[in-house]
Amino acid sequence: MTTKTQKVVELEDVVVRFAGDSGDGMQLTGSLFSDAAAIAGNDFATFPDYPSEIRAPQGTIAGVSGFQIHFGHKEIYTPGDTADVLFAMNPAPLKKNLMWVKPGGTIIVDTDTFTDKSLTKAEYTSNPLEDGSLKEYNVIKAPISTLTKKSVEDLGLDNKMILKSRNMFALGIMFFLFNRKFKTADEFFEQKFKSDPLLIESNKKILRAGYNFAETIEALNSITYIVEPAELKKGKYRNITGNVATAWGLLAAAERSGRQLFLGSYPITPASEILQELSKHKSLGAKVLQAEDEIAGIVSAIGASFAGSFAVTSTSGPGLSLKCEAIGLAVMTELPIVIVDVQRAGPSTGMPTKSEQSDLLQALFGRNGEAQVIVIAASSSSNCFYYAYEAAKLAMEHMTPVILLTDGCLANGSEVFRIPKVSELPSIKPPIVKANDTDYRPYKRDPEKLSRSWAIPGTLGLRHRIGGLEKENIFGNVSHDPENHQLMCEYRAEKVRRVANYIKPQDVIGPESGDLLVVSWGSTYGVMIEAVKEMQEQGKKVSLAHFHNINPLPKNTAEIFSKYKKIIVPELNLGQFVLYLRMYFQQFKFEQYNKIQGLPFMVKELVDKFNHLLDEK
């Protein structure tokens, strides 16, 4: 083998997608590739694409599992629209993912798997490697199965075992292509196969075989790529998914507030990981009840809140529907509780594994009676930590339910997360009443916040009764008095409105005035900022106002809106935030752009839409 001169090309950012059968280990491959990116100092975001069936038939399109990673020297906001490199382990993943490959992008396939049988299973009528349908792409044909077998033939492993390790050969190719080091993967093998040295050796060998193979093949022209480290703030980092970040933010809030965490929850995709994650951390005193249904989930949490715990319930859209009545009870009893809604595509069971922003109106209005709650939304997998924390702080300090909206994209996606110190997070000071406080009245309010105080069972001298029936101002006895009801409804609404005095003003990314303001919320932040930055680079006067505080809205919202000639509100629904904004701000004209396909926005479609709007007279 002659060593060729290597050409190294520098890239700002790259999107790689690994795709295979659900048994091909694509999630593992992707996460090992992410670890290598982390060690190299890149910023990155990832997104897994699981099939909805647990084990769909092998080789079929329904059974394809994918993992996308976007890494860069520049700051990374999203897992990326389309892939620069697609690694397809079999025909079905190629068929399913081709539409997500950039024109001219690189596709790497295992030619050994392109048999007549598997082509038919993947619904191909002719072999795409031969019929010219891939001529727009740089296709690298590698007999990966054969080469994997060959690379460990001296170790005496059985065939099935070897074929399961094909993904490590693929990883080796990618390691070569992006100049990665073996270290993190080797460490993983040593940890994972501690009790089986043979497997450590075989995996290491296969990984290197892939690397060496890539070095020699013609199609790569010996070009490799390098993505320089990102300019991240100094500090300690880790990779985190939105659901784990949410769970940890809640744990941090419990610790900071000195309250024990109680979660009442019922499993539902894509929120279950919050339940699973919190149930791991008993050493931190977190109590988790896997309830018999979503209603018991929230109601047990309300009971726990009454008893002095920092109470949480986690769910997705259908579960939020079941919790509506109980949220009203928390509104009436003015007890703190955080309701996490990891949104998914609805209505009804909808598309459980697909993401959407369509629970906003349910979160804002889905209750009987006048029942305002605080609604906030996270916008990235890692900031789920901070918004879960903020939800907890607002709930406990203002004595009210808070709905935290995330979604499937944030929940399952992962991101680089700079590890904070808990002591540096803002303090949380719930208004807990001291024993024998003779001034205590169940519905007496803080003059500024209008919150009532928290008198916890077991405390001497504070026995009192609360419940879902309307309460008499100050004293909290049952009351059907007409004037009292009006007063109490207004107090409860005003209490939530005044939260605006305690939240950060809305910020704008880009010039403070201009031709177009993009207004968005939730998980679309990454694409919005990429689209807006791209337009700013083209010299357009476009800015972004991405909202995290939905109810109440920041106080400077109208002022911001007034500075732009046009406003557009893109959402992954049929127009929910825009409807809400139109309700409050009738003086402005809001354009809307909606997509509801269970897919995220793409930067390109947004830029096109925004440009189109700017061109309109």
């Binding site: 880790r238 005193g285 109590k287 309830a291 109601v299 916890i456 069972p457 077991g458 419940g467």
Partner: protein
Amino acid sequence: MGNEVTDVKKELPALTKEDFKSDQMVKWCPGCGDHAILSSFQKVLPELGVRKENVVVVSGIGCSSRFPYYVKTYGFHGIHGRAAALSSGVKISNPNLHVWMVTGDGDSLAIGGNHFIHVLRRNIDINILLFNNRIYGLTKGQYSPTTPTGRKTKSSPHGTIEHPFNVGELAIGAQGTFFARAVDTNPKMIIKVMHEAAKHKGTSLIEILQNCVIFYNNVHSAITSKETKGENQLHLIHGEPMIFGKNKDKGIMLKGTQLQAVHIGKYGVTEKDILVHDETTYDSGIHLMLAKMAPPTFPVALGVIRSVKNYTYEDKLESIIETEKEISSIKCVDDLLNSGKTWEI
């Protein structure tokens, strides 16, 4: 961390019934069975050796569920059907609290059926008072899951066509560890079983046969009226033979696999043949049969039918937490944030 933990028996001030009367006017109909239950409960509380601040009364919705407003403790009047979930949250959150739950046959067996069976299955240490008036009181007279088949009510003008639940059967089927039954006309018995329930570690369920004077008057009169109560009530006492009847001349025998009500002294039956009540046997066979006995063939079994030992949910949870606190390397959230794979930049 942890919530306010309060000692149970440290220098308890002497308490009386008055300490547990709230200043709210009791608004049940005159003659409603609920009054007697409330009064019994207020007598029991000072005798439990529990600090008054450690008692929490939780309820759902219904006439019966107004109960917490009338008892001067910490109280929570919840939403329809959800009292079991609410109480579970309170108790798990702070196991030192002494939690009583008050509910109706509609509240716990219809809309709240799911939570009801699951709290029993989990054996959370709360005491449930289920007021069974076999009708929906608060909504003015529709039939409930315990209304007898054929009964004409506002929502069953042709008589119900549904099969009613037997509360004890349902509870034992759900692995309830304690089931007792009492009647609203016998406060002494209510007080006695409330004490038993309070002592029991785990979910204690007391079904109280309660009269709704407005929508189903005399619903339990076959059991409670002066004329028939002797023949139709069997007062169970652990370790004693199951003897009943005005003249204490009847008893319950096991014939094959079935219970049978018999005359003592007739057909050669002697007291020795009468079943001795064992509330503690784990096997639920006899308990189920006792719970299902009804006139005219049988008397209704009152008192503690079943009281068996099992661990409680919250005790187990607390012990897992304690162990984890000891053995886990994650002692605080900073530890957690820095656990696993991290890197410096």
